[in-house]
């Protein structure tokens, strides 16, 4: 066990833990935002640079500060490390710059995008974004394409976090999509728009931090803040069957995995509760699901707008279903 101090809060973590995970152990404001790191996906992180933090003292043995900001998602902690995130002016300025870079090619089409309201880049832009743009060149644009019959890819919105590629690599048996090109030309694509038909390919939608990969069965159906997220489960042979159904009245508009406050899939019996495409795309009847109750949503989130914690329109229905 090693002791680290993050923003003046001391925490004891196992050796080898990354700075980001140590901060998540404390929780709250000291957690750096992360656009590409996904704890449930091996090898993720280190790409977006939003989680950069200042290391004021490298370790107890060598308390010199690190010369540059380090990516907290891929830097392991050292005993006696002193890390500054919220309390560092440098980090704040830098995060604004990273946000500006991420938004260089990202379209400002939040009013259209289905991810709006649960988009990590939107949150990041809200907190660190500038009100104007200094970019004068043309943004790179692509036409939205279908990858498979259930997923829509808007390459314009992609920030190249590689999470979806890792989902395909680690969850499905054969990956047919990946990043083509290098540098500014890099894009997520499939060869000749190959269909993605693996049972777990839908999880790409859940891991996408922006609206690049969206659910075609939910496309433009509603806005997330008009829906009521309900925890639901069903017995499924392919996955744990534990999901969140997004309801409008008595109808299920879409199904997603249960995501924690960092936007990552929650654990079920020690394993990430990824959901299969059957649950996600094909079961949209209330009778398919055992609805357990309303999902707890942070009250600062727009999703909780106009919803009341105790208001549960299905309270009478849940009894009927059981």
């Amino acid at each position: 066990m090693v002791k680290v101090t993050i923003d003046g809060i001391e925490v004891e973590v196992e050796a080898g833990t990354t700075v980001l995970n140590a901060a998540r152990k404390i929780g709250g404001d000291v957690v750096p935002p992360a656009m590409c790191y996904y704890s449930k996906l091996e090898g993720s992180g280190g790409k977006c640079r939003t989680c950069l933090v200042e290391v004021a003292a490298g370790s107890a043995n060598d308390p010199r500060p690190m010369p540059k900001l380090v990516a907290s998602c891929s830097t392991p902690v050292q005993d006696g490390m002193v890390i500054k995130n919220k309390t560092s002016e440098k980090v704040h300025v830098n995060r604004g710059a990273v946000t500006e870079f991420l938004l260089i090619n990202h379209p400002l089409d939040c009013p259209i995008c289905d991810q709006a309201g649960e988009c990590h880049l939107q949150d990041l832009g809200f907190e660190h974004g500038a009100s104007g743009t200094r970019y004068e060149e043309e943004r790179r644009t692509f036409d939205p394409i279908d990858i498979g019959n259930k997923i829509k890819l808007h390459m314009n919105r992609c920030i190249l976090c590689y999470r979806c590629v890792m989902v395909a690599n680690q969850l499905t048996d054969k990956r047919v999509h990946g990043v083509l090109g290098r540098g500014d030309h890099a894009e997520i694509s499939t060869y000749i728009s190959n269909a993605i038909d693996n049972d777990f390919s839908g999880n790409m939608i859940d891991v996408c931090p922006v609206g690049a990969l969206t659910d075609k069965t939910f496309r433009f159906k509603s806005r997330v803040w008009f829906l009521k997220p309900m925890e639901a489960s069903r017995s499924c042979t392919k996955c744990a069957g534990k999901a969140v159904v997004w309801m409008f009245g008595e109808e299920i508009y879409r199904v997603t995995a249960r995501k924690d406050k960092y936007g990552e899939v929650e654990d079920n019996d020690g394993k990430p509760a990824w959901i299969c495409n059957d649950c996600r795309f094909d079961h949209k009847n209330v009778s398919d699901w055992n609805i357990e109750g309303p999902r707890k949503i942070n009250r600062h989130s727009v999703i909780s707008a106009n919803h009341y914690e105790k208001a549960n329109p299905l309270e009478n229905n849940t009894k009927k279903i059981k």
Binding site: P111, I112, A116, R219, F220, S222, R223, W225, F226, V302
Partner: protein, 180 residues
């Protein structure tokens, strides 16, 4: 208890004099006030023959604007509906098809857009929330009706007509908005 406002009047129950008990002077006095008002300037107008001039920022009936090319600005983002304190706005979004580029500005548009004018409190928050400069309140007033259903205004009555554009430039350039 002592009055806090000092406006309390104590009612006396004194016996009326003979002249007072006739009530005639009081009636004449009352009539005098009434008749006097007939010759004063009226506060009301004979609507709809006569109409008042409203301030340019008056918050009346909504309009869904089109851009210069006649395409609908609204993209059904739902921000007006979430901002609406009276929950008067509902909408259904749809995807723009190929060939409809001259009708809708963005790839998503409002297939139906309804404002319940009976619920609406004309606070203008929808206008404030709109990121696309699509919805504006205007200086027109919502006409009365005998039927409650008639107050649910759909796109047919909200979207401005191409041959009858509604000018809201004064509204946009008045007050805080003009300072930008």
């Amino acid at each position: 208890m002592e009055s806090l406002s000092n406006r309390k009047k104590v009612v006396s129950n004194k016996k009326m004099s003979f002249v007072e008990s006739l009530y005639l002077p009081a009636i004449v006095g009352g009539m005098w006030i009434t008749i006097k008002h007939m010759f004063k300037k009226h506060n009301t107008l004979k609507y709809p023959e006569q109409q008042r001039v409203f301030a340019p920022v008056y918050r009346g009936m909504h309009v869904l604007k089109r851009d210069e090319q006649g395409r609908e600005n609204c993209t059904a983002c739902g921000l007006c509906a979430v901002a609406c304190p009276a929950e008067a706005i509902t909408m259904v979004a749809a995807e723009r098809q190929k060939g409809e580029e001259n009708l809708y500005r963005e790839e998503k548009y409002a297939e139906s857009y309804e404002i319940n004018m009976l619920r609406c409190i004309f606070c203008g928050l929808c206008e404030e929330a709109c990121p696309k400069e699509a919805i504006f309140l205007t200086d027109r007033i919502v006409p009365t009706n005998f039927d409650r259903d008639e107050f649910v205004y759909g796109k047919d009555r909200l979207v401005e007509q191409l041959d009858n554009r509604i000018d809201i430039t004064v509204r946009q350039n008045t007050g805080k908005r003009g300072e930008k």
